[in-house]
Amino acid sequence: MTLNYDQAVEKYEPTLGLEVHVELNTVSKMFCSCSTIFGAAPNTQTCPVCLGMPGALPVVNAKAIESSILIGLALNCSVVPFSRFARKNYFYPDMPKNFQTSQFDEPICVNGYLDVQLDTDDGVQTFRIEIERVHMEEDTGKSLHVGGATGRIHGADYSLLDYNRAGIPLVEIVTKIIPNTGKYAPQVARAYVTELRDILRSLGVSDVKMEQGSMRCDVNLSLAPIDSGKLGTRSETKNVNSLRSVERAVIGEVVRQAERLEVGERIVQETRHFLEESGQTRPGRSKEQAEDYRYFPEPDLVPVVPDSSWIEELRALLPEKPSVRRKRLQEAWAVPDKEMAALVNAELLDVVEETILLGAEPTRARTWWLGEISRIANEKSVIPASLITPTHVAEVITLIASGELTDKLARQVVDGVIAGEGTPQEVIDSRGLKVVSDDSALMVAIEAAIAAQPDTAERIRSGNIPAAGALIGAVMKATGGQADAAKVRELLLKHLGQG
């Protein structure tokens, strides 16, 4: 039996739960002083501690605790006065100690929430996502299974292990169950992860790059018949690694589970893997044969007991909430909703705000970043902010406003800056892009144009003003586009007795 998404949510109520893993951007690892820089040669960022050598001991990275508390505070959580690490015991070759040091039943932050807004059939609606916990743990190493069909350890010819990632600090943010989203479940999930990502970015605690794995989402989803008042059996979809995938994974699971339920099958509680190409999920290991992790408090670490005055200091450091900031900027710039959404999606708020703060006129600032610069960025498949600085954009816009550059010239200046030719002023100087505003120089060109097209000049003298276009075009061509067209028009008409 096949169902489409709309049919599925007409019959079944989805219940969501989201677990987001975030790699913190601390300089050193969770329990040792090894570097966390991404992309180093395998096993070059390791030491006795993160390799689990006999006798080595962990020491908690204070910066990781600070980041975790900031995250908790930003998500309206309580910071627990006494929390602990535990050992999660299981064997896997990329886990050096064969236990993961992770907070378990005593996480550092609990009971928060995050509000997200969605455009629904009934207008803009706020969904409150309740946060159950924020906890700290360490990442595992990376395995590369070579040979075999599946890329999994079973059936591989051999496996390569890289422990550079072992011990990278992770924070896991777990929601409570998210009920009553109805058909909006996919958008709610996406909006939550987006908002969370923006908050984490504003806190400066993580790179939050989903494509590099510094932010990863697991989607828990169950279905129950509408109005049954029950909760169904959930599946947990792992490794959902983009915002779009979050939305697609929810849709995929809603449809898959609804189809099962429709034919009277039961849902198996299991881990599933998201398939990027199809938007569907495939089964992983079944949780019914779940391993017993034999959690117990980590005896090598002392409890985390943050000082309440420290917590208040951190609370005072919290930046403006992304949602509040968006609202404030939209009002200040008087931007329509659609354009604001475009700016947010293109991650241009920071650079546009900075460009404006540097003196650029708001409309021009937005237009340049969303238009020309984004266009070039798309061509090059990079992000706009990597191409040019707000300082340079502001400088170009100021030169346009003062009439020293035309829009056309400004595009060439921006091209030059992006091509690495220097600052806007240096590009103007080296390319000779100054607007020709010297009247006498323009008059020479105007007289030459009149001499070349005497008939046209005569028509203008006799009152045919639109005919001026041909002569203005000729002047612009002669000056290599460096003249201000409005100025040429003014001088030409005056010269021909029409000014």
């Binding site: 050598m53 006999p54 006798g55 015991n89 070759p93 117990f296 005896p299």
Partner: protein, 500 residues
């Protein structure tokens, strides 16, 4: 005249006075080892090159008039549980055969910095699990008092090396008595400092919340001198205490216990304790009274449950600590023929690499931590631990230190407890409570038991971070007994015929 029979403090004085050199001391000890260690088997590895290199450096620095640490140039034997850079470190297990650590334990770093000469690594029960060294994968150590007897364990190698004059100093580690019980049965001194007093960084973990490294020596003062070298906060060990080290050398030299209250623990004597051990214990109490101390009797009722709780907590932690021995990164690897999975190779390696006692404890601990049993086993054991701490707190309101015999019996015959792990576990009945509560404790010789003429130990426990109190009491008792005996107890050891 300085000889291998001298105390470490005497050797240190002679070095300072220039009447001997570190190279000479090192030579003499290697000679003694060559002579007796075939019979005693205290050592698993001898580091001639490293030892002489350190000895020469210290001698040269002394010749230049540089200020040196008090024990600079004195030899030491290191329990093989401690990681020493580049030196084979097996922890008494086949699992780590051939492993040379890429780093030094903090204790080793401090020994080296103090100019102490590390002669080699000493034998021990595999992963420090045992009371006799019979669980070593590399053969049993023999008690120098009687080569048919066990030297105690797990640190039997370190204590036997002291008793056989193969080294004047040694490092041990004590999870349930592994420093103190070997000291007791070899007639030497062993100290388990307050938990957190000495860094555990580089100590291959058996049970993280119980393990503590400490000094082993032939006198209380020597132990105190070594204690001050290795103790103190270490930022690499989160559980290390960031407080000044108690002044144990000063306390060991005090030789005065006037006004101190010595608490005799009711639960740590009586049934199961050998008469000769109790006799020496009671005579030692008399000596302390003569020296001006007051004896009080205290009861610690939860001590009756300490052994049971220990055998849940220690195996639980060990089941997790020993999980890392999976052949992936270091140690032996068995069965990797290109056709077996990583999981199979891990299984085969662990099957071949661990001995029966280690496997027994891993299985016990895995069971105690498993879902559905955790609360009944590990959870209850932690509650007992809290009760033990409360018992100690109450007892220390009545007494400055608590005392008992160290081990209920003298050294037993090698092989005697082969098929009776519970009888073996009972060796640690008096020493385990101090580990469970994290307090400091020491053992020093109380004399020879009447029945067998073998050494018995006197056990002193002091409140956390008041290690100086046990050194004060131990130093005073040692002096009183020495004057009573007329010569150190070890001079009476018949087994030391191996020396001549």
């Amino acid at each position: 005249m300085i000889s291998i029979r001298s105390d470490a403090s005497e050797m240190a004085d002679a070095l300072t006075a220039g009447t001997t050199t570190s190279v000479s001391l090192t030579e003499q000890h290697f000679e003694q080892i060559a002579k007796v260690d075939g019979a005693v088997h205290a050592f698993l590895y001898l580091d001639h090159d490293g030892a002489f290199e350190q000895a020469r450096v210290v001698d040269a620095r002394r010749a230049k008039g540089e200020a040196l640490s008090p024990l600079a140039g004195v030899p030491l034997a290191l329990k093989d549980v401690m990681a020493q850079k580049g030196i084979p470190t097996t922890c008494g297990s086949k699992m780590l055969e051939g492993w040379r650590p890429p780093y030094d334990a903090t204790v080793v770093t401090r020994l080296k910095a103090a100019g102490i000469v590390i002669l080699g690594k000493t034998n021990m029960d595999e992963f420090a699990m045992g009371s006799s060294t019979e669980n070593s994968a590399y053969g049993t150590t023999h008690n120098p008092w009687d080569l048919t007897k066990i030297p105690g364990g797990s640190g039997g190698g370190s204590s036997a090396a002291l008793a056989a004059f193969e080294s004047p100093l040694a490092i041990g580690t004590d999870t349930g008595g592994s420093i103190r019980q070997p000291a007791a049965v070899t007639g030497t001194v062993g100290v388990k400092p307050t938990y957190g007093g000495v860094s555990r960084y580089g100590l291959i973990a058996f049970s993280s919340s119980l393990d503590q490294a400490g000094p082993c020596a032939r006198t209380v003062l020597d132990a105190a001198l070594l204690h001050e070298v290795i103790a103190g906060h270490d930022e690499r060990d989160s559980t290390s205490i960031n407080l000044p080290v108690p002044q144990v050398v000063k306390a060991a030299r005090k030789l005065d216990v006037k006004g101190l209250k010595i608490g005799v623990v009711k639960e740590l004597q009586g049934e199961g304790f050998q008469d000769g051990v109790l006799n020496r214990f009671n005579e030692a109490l008399d000596e302390l009274v003569s020296a001006g101390a007051e004896i009080v009797h205290v009861s610690c009722p939860s001590f009756d449950y300490a052994l049971a709780a220990y055998y849940l907590i220690a195996p639980s932690e060990c089941s997790s600590n020993l999980a890392r021995f999976d052949s992936m990164r270091y140690g032996i690897r068995i069965g990797d023929d290109g056709n077996r999975s990583a999981e199979e190779v891990m299984n085969m390696t662990r099957h071949a690499g661990f001995g029966p006692e280690v496997k027994r404890r891993i299985i016990l601990g895995t069971y105690a931590l498993s879902s559905g049993y955790y609360d009944a086993y590990y959870g209850s054991a932690q509650k007992v631990r809290t009760l033990l701490i409360q018992d100690f707190s109450a007892a220390f309101l009545k007494a400055d230190v608590l005392v008992s015999p160290t081990s209920p019996t003298t050294a037993f015959t090698i092989g005697q407890n082969d098929n009776n792990p519970l009888a073996m576990y009972l060796n640690d009945i008096a020493t385990i409570p101090a580990n469970m509560a994290g307090i400091g404790a020491m053992s020093l010789p109380s004399g020879l038991a009447d029945e067998d003429g073998l050494p018995a130990g006197f056990h002193i426990m002091s409140p956390a971070m008041k290690d100086d109190l046990m050194y004060q009491v131990g130093g005073t008792l040692e002096a009183a007994l020495l004057s009573k005996w007329g010569a150190p107890l070890l001079s009476k050891a018949p087994g030391l015929a191996v020396n001549s």
